[in-house]
């Protein structure tokens, strides 16, 4: 039967704009974010984020604590990717104190950081799927995430907040069956990813809901200093692991994933997620290479300094977190406590772009756009 398009003439309809409050207690705001939105019918005309509902005084604490004591607080910034969080801070202090950590430590750090990147992207894709109404990928991805967390727990003693990277080395050595477990995890992650690609990313309903929604042009993304999958989804090839290689990332062969015009438009919600899916595969590749090259013997605690007391000076040290660039601006005055430690919070910077990209979309799409940015409120509010 032929479909008929009927045109009605309603004349000009004026509607009152409505102000609506989303959060701080809302199932889809991924924490305690409050959005004040202005609607015209179903169309979003303005969004004002109100943050600070989880402001835990992180920077004040850093000025009161000694350097090793700061690391647990850094864990609690982006609590989904704690291993990655600790790295830039530890690296910055090591640079200032001129400590060269052993090879084996560098390899273990790379492996754990990449494993945690996989765990973070699993949560990001799972919760984004849930925002779009797909519950099954959530169960699949969380099942696999438990394997990674078990390895972390076996190594560091904690499931979520590890306190594992210390200045000059690592808190403990890895367990004896570490290599086999890590390779086993990669195998499972790859199998599940293939399934999720078919189940979620290629799903017609999901594609229809996310393609051409929340388009973020590259120049806007750079002007807002977005980073991570949000920037790369817009087609900008900027990854700190390649752009300014830190640690030993120049030894591995991996690609920087960017968004494409393949299914959606560059910079839309679907592209931000496909970047995450592809990055998991790249992380698997890095882990495989790192396990093959890693030295078997060596003490991970041999370079511990007797006193962590960096000389007077200041440094900005950043690393590529799963969500983007996390940096720490450390000002030391020669004492055993930081004079000032300012973090460059990834989610805080990425969230600022939200009002720019969701104007003109439906209110149901607003939740999807927020999910595709992948924020963690612990890092937004600190």
């Amino acid at each position: 039967m032929e479909r008929k398009f009927i045109e009605y003439d309603f004349g000009r309809v004026d509607s009152e704009r409505m102000r609506l409050n989303v959060g701080p207690q809302h199932p889809s705001t991924h924490g305690v974010l409050r959005l004040e939105i202005e609607l015209e019918g179903e169309i979003v005309t303005d969004v004002i984020p109100h943050i600070g509902y989880l402001h835990r005084c992180f920077e004040k604490y850093c000025e009161q604590m000694q350097y090793p004591q700061v690391i647990p607080y850094i864990d609690r910034l982006d609590y989904i990717a704690s291993m990655n969080n600790e790295w830039p801070f530890v690296m910055g202090v090591e640079k200032m104190m001129n400590i060269q950590v052993p090879e084996r430590v560098e390899y273990i750090r790379v492996i754990f950081a990449e494993l945690n990147r996989i765990a973070n992207h699993q949560i990001a894709v799972a919760t984004f799927g849930m925002d779009a109404g797909a519950f099954t990928p959530f169960l699949y991805l969380f099942r696999d995430r438990e394997m990674i967390l078990n390895l972390f727990e076996h190594t560091s003693g904690a499931r979520l907040l590890y306190n594992y990277f210390w200045v000059g080395g690592l808190a403990h050595d890895v367990p004896p069956n570490f290599k086999d477990t890590a390779l086993n995890i990669i195998k499972t992650v790859r199998a599940t990813n293939e399934e999720v690609m078919r189940l979620l990313m290629g799903n017609k309903i999901f594609v229809e809901r996310t393609v051409k929604v929340g388009i973020l042009p590259a120049d806007v993304a750079i002007n807002f200093a977005c980073s991570g999958p949000v920037l790369r989804g817009s087609g900008v090839e900027w990854d700190l692991r390649k752009a300014q290689p830190y640690s030993i990332y120049d030894r591995f062969d991996f690609n920087v994933c960017v968004g494409s015009n393949e299914i959606g438009v560059i910079g839309d919600s679907w592209n931000r997620n496909i970047v995450r899916m592809n990055e998991m595969e790249q992380s698997c590749r890095i882990i495989e290479q790192a396990i093959a090259q890693m030295p078997n013997e060596g003490d991970v605690r041999e370079k511990f300094p007797k006193k962590v007391r960096p000389p007077k000076g200041e440094i900005y040290c950043s690393a590529e977190n799963p969500k983007g660039e996390l940096g720490f601006y450390l000002v030391a005055d020669g004492g055993n406590k930081p004079f000032r430690l300012k973090s460059r919070p990834t989610s805080f910077v990425n969230l600022a772009v939200l009002p720019e990209i969701c104007k003109g979309y439906m209110v149901a799409d607003l939740i999807l756009i927020l999910g595709s940015i992948d924020i963690v409120l612990g890092e937004v509010d600190r």
């Binding site: 600070g52 200032m96 440094i315």
Partner: protein
């Protein structure tokens, strides 16, 4: 481009406003500029061919005990070089021009600096608190900050 070359370039263009070059044995070198000229200097750094600092990584407020300050960490995605600018502000009524019109990301960073240190940014579109509640008293990250006893009837200290 090396940091020293960028500094020389900037010093040539703004001989009055560029005050000092701080190179340390450990860590990053930085350039101190006049706070009143910060908007013009940042605009020059972004638009000048060969510099093109299009990425403001971090804007932080500072309390140096005897003075306040702000620090700008800049990247160029094209040339992959970085640069650090600093300003010093007086202890009483610190204020300086906003760079929000150059890099939009500065909007929230400047609000945070206002929230934590009480540094006011002129020409900022929305200069209100961001992390603390809107009716919070005092600026928490100042070195001489004393916390509130109660907030809306709830006791805060242990």
């Amino acid at each position: 481009m090396l940091v020293q070359e960028i500094y020389d370039n900037l010093k040539e263009k703004f001989p009055e406003a560029v005050l000092e070059f701080i190179g340390t044995a450990t860590g990053d070198p930085s350039t101190v500029v006049d706070a009143g000229q910060i908007y013009n200097i940042c605009k020059y750094l972004r638009d000048q061919d060969g510099l093109e600092f299009d990425y403001l990584a971090l804007l932080s407020g500072m309390d140096y005990k005897d003075k306040f300050g702000t620090v700008y960490h800049l990247y160029s995605l094209k040339y992959k070089h970085r640069f650090v600018i600093k300003t010093y502000l007086p202890k009483e009524d610190p204020s300086l021009p906003s760079v929000e019109r150059i890099w939009k990301t500065a909007n929230w960073h400047e609000r945070e600096a206002y929230d934590m240190f009480g540094i006011k940014f002129e020409n900022h579109p929305n200069m209100i608190r961001i992390l603390c509640p809107y009716d919070w008293e005092g600026y928490p990250l100042r070195k001489d900050y004393v916390g509130q006893e109660t907030y809306h009837g709830v006791r805060i200290p242990v």
